[in-house]
Symmetry: C3
Subunit: 341 residues, 3 copies
Amino acid sequence: MADPRFFDRAGPFSLGALAALSGARLSRPHDGGRLFSDVAPLETAGPNDVAFLDNSKYIDAFAQSLAGAAFVDEKWAARAPPGMALLLSAQPYKAYARAAQAFYPDPSIPARRAPSAEIDPEAVVPADCDIGPFVVIGPRARVGQRCLIGAGTVIGAGVELGDDCQIGPQVTLSHCLIGARVVLHAGVRIGQAGFGFAPDAAGPVKVPQLGRVIIGDDVDIGANTTIDRGSGHDTVIGPGTMIDNLVQIGHNVVLGRGCVLAGQVGVSGSTRLGDFVMAGGQAGFAGHLRIGAGARIGAKAGLMRDVPPGETVLGSPAVPIGQFMRQTAVVQRLAKKKDER
Amino acid sequence: MADPRFFDRAGPFSLGALAALSGARLSRPHDGGRLFSDVAPLETAGPNDVAFLDNSKYIDAFAQSLAGAAFVDEKWAARAPPGMALLLSAQPYKAYARAAQAFYPDPSIPARRAPSAEIDPEAVVPADCDIGPFVVIGPRARVGQRCLIGAGTVIGAGVELGDDCQIGPQVTLSHCLIGARVVLHAGVRIGQAGFGFAPDAAGPVKVPQLGRVIIGDDVDIGANTTIDRGSGHDTVIGPGTMIDNLVQIGHNVVLGRGCVLAGQVGVSGSTRLGDFVMAGGQAGFAGHLRIGAGARIGAKAGLMRDVPPGETVLGSPAVPIGQFMRQTAVVQRLAKKKDER
Amino acid sequence: MADPRFFDRAGPFSLGALAALSGARLSRPHDGGRLFSDVAPLETAGPNDVAFLDNSKYIDAFAQSLAGAAFVDEKWAARAPPGMALLLSAQPYKAYARAAQAFYPDPSIPARRAPSAEIDPEAVVPADCDIGPFVVIGPRARVGQRCLIGAGTVIGAGVELGDDCQIGPQVTLSHCLIGARVVLHAGVRIGQAGFGFAPDAAGPVKVPQLGRVIIGDDVDIGANTTIDRGSGHDTVIGPGTMIDNLVQIGHNVVLGRGCVLAGQVGVSGSTRLGDFVMAGGQAGFAGHLRIGAGARIGAKAGLMRDVPPGETVLGSPAVPIGQFMRQTAVVQRLAKKKDER
């Protein structure tokens, strides 16, 4: 079970209720009345816990699990240990997520304002927000309803946040407009001047960075990620986009709706990603590229050229996945031949 | 136009004045008296705005722009839409930068000291500085004239800053001496102990990190970048060097004058870069290397060996650009052959 | 000598005492009574300083050094300049570390509590700790004896730290249990929710992140590094593990004892590293991998598959070092041939 020092649990729930709220189907409908008190991983779950199997790497753990019930795809149901109640779903991870949300609902935001917070008299901060210690909110900033602002966070002049945002501790925001239900983890830096200068014999000439950062609704941004403001155009993060930790987003970058960027990805200035682009960890994008909607960018890929919609690319310089596989295979074959001689 | 919530604009300026301050030449001298009220990107500029073209990717946007005037290289002048006044320059981006600086001058630093700042009585902080809320300045630290110190920044004992520095919020400085006109963006970490230990069967033995970080005049360092202090020698960042976000600089590294390091670059301990070295995003340098002056390091390059002055290298392990091109071509050719069989 | 603005020096010590505490052997036992006042690098050391040689790249500096004494492997002793006293050791860097620790002992932690720190009445913070300005410690958090907590650090509800921890400024800790003698540098982020969501047509469904971060004794974590809490299992960092700056550790990752991760390494969710794994800078690990004990992962390597214990791998996708060398050689040979035609 989750450590009660850190998590408050709801429940118990009947298996029938869990099936209903998660969209899963009970393999044995007569199990519907059994009560379950928690979710847990396959390896540590007990008879009152609900687990899940979503990755074939863990079929053995599933087959040996003591979990009382588990979310699982029908194709793996036969591997279940005897007595385990099955919640069948074509998307067991999503179904599990719904159940876990029921056991561990987001805590409600208390209306609270730390006396040490320094809020400019010209800022608008609703009374139903939770403003942590040592928060700084500048003139004309506007915070939405029911926002959580973590300790030490600095919100610059004129910044706007939508309703129900959760801003972690020690975040810095400037020159940005942020949508509703946005989650920013600790140490996120948004809106600082981008890397803009023109070379000159007497030293680089700085180019004023006159744009903003516009962040859509339901965006989630990981710890210590940095997003520079635009230089003229805005830097834009589309609604529903998920960005992991330590990601770098340069000035004027536009990310579409529903993009997913894993940890340590870097996107250079003025590159545009269409909707639903996915990029694996440590992938890097050169500047001024166009990446089509639905493109999939492999971990560590180095993008030097535009990518058409829907294409999967790998490698550095990145090439379509088929070509990457052939290149890797031919090099490995030649290296082997060399070895045999 | 730049969002007036975030930017204060000067002007208007006559085209003649803009040409004079930027070193550009008017294609039609009789345009010199026309007044312009702002700078803007090609795509959004109107008849009272000045735009620029600096990258051939945007020639179509230039040809269709409604901008009243634009900085442009003479070779692209023929593509201008009718009626656009042209500010001709061999370096249109630099010329634009000068004009943008005129419209959006750096705000002057107000003499201000947040009552919540904790400044050691033994620290020296001139009255003309702007010291933000919750700033901590330790004993014997010395801050220069007209410095801006952002909210929550921590300046350790003995640290020195030159005049006219702009230090963002939540920066931490220790064991360092910093020049004049240095810009440090939010979350920069300078002077912490480097990654120094000697292996031992009983666990690693930590090596005291006894050096400093020395940062020259006019250096600009991006958000969440980390620079460790030296272990015996100092870590040195040469004057005029520009460092982007999320860059890692190990102990004893020496960067020359006017280097440019793009986002997420990593430089391992004791490596030395000569003057004016440029490194693309996510490039990585092994330790104890010598990189010659003027070398150009491609994005994502992995440097395992010294690089002579002026050389351009790419790939991982990095090789001279000609060799990299041949390697890439031969692998692509072999992969294609394999495909055809 | 180390800058006295930043470092307090002990000593002098006799060469005999330095030999004894470092386990080195004097090449000329009659030097044992000579007093030395400091440690210093080969290039800047004078007659009263002790230097070291640990890397053959610096043999010339050794041969020309003015250091009065140096730690050195016996095999390089013949290259010493005349008059230099030699402290012979098979591990000269470790021996030097012991001597440097003697000259520059860790300062003792003063019992001090900044009046501006906000410590929850339900938190346990011993009086012998040094709690910096603007620190926030939440309800039911427990801090060990003699801990240093840097300015602005935020310790969340229920977090526990062992004795003698040194926590830098502006660190954020939540949902974690931390051992004794742990060092966390500035800007470290531990315990935030990991990157967990299930895809869905209506937008990603967030998966509650119900685990913790467990950090063993004697762990050292570099500036701005991020470690997400587990999603169900815990994220675990084994005792004695050293992590450099700007490293990303995903949810459910397990690092064994004594691992070493250089700067900007990224480890994706649920991957497990055995004891004493070493990873070079910017290496990246895909999720759900098993990396055997003692494996060595090259800088910039991209791990897509499990690695057996003790293996050394390089490249992206990573392969065993022998294969990597053959692959690199064959590509270089073919590129050369192409060039010759």
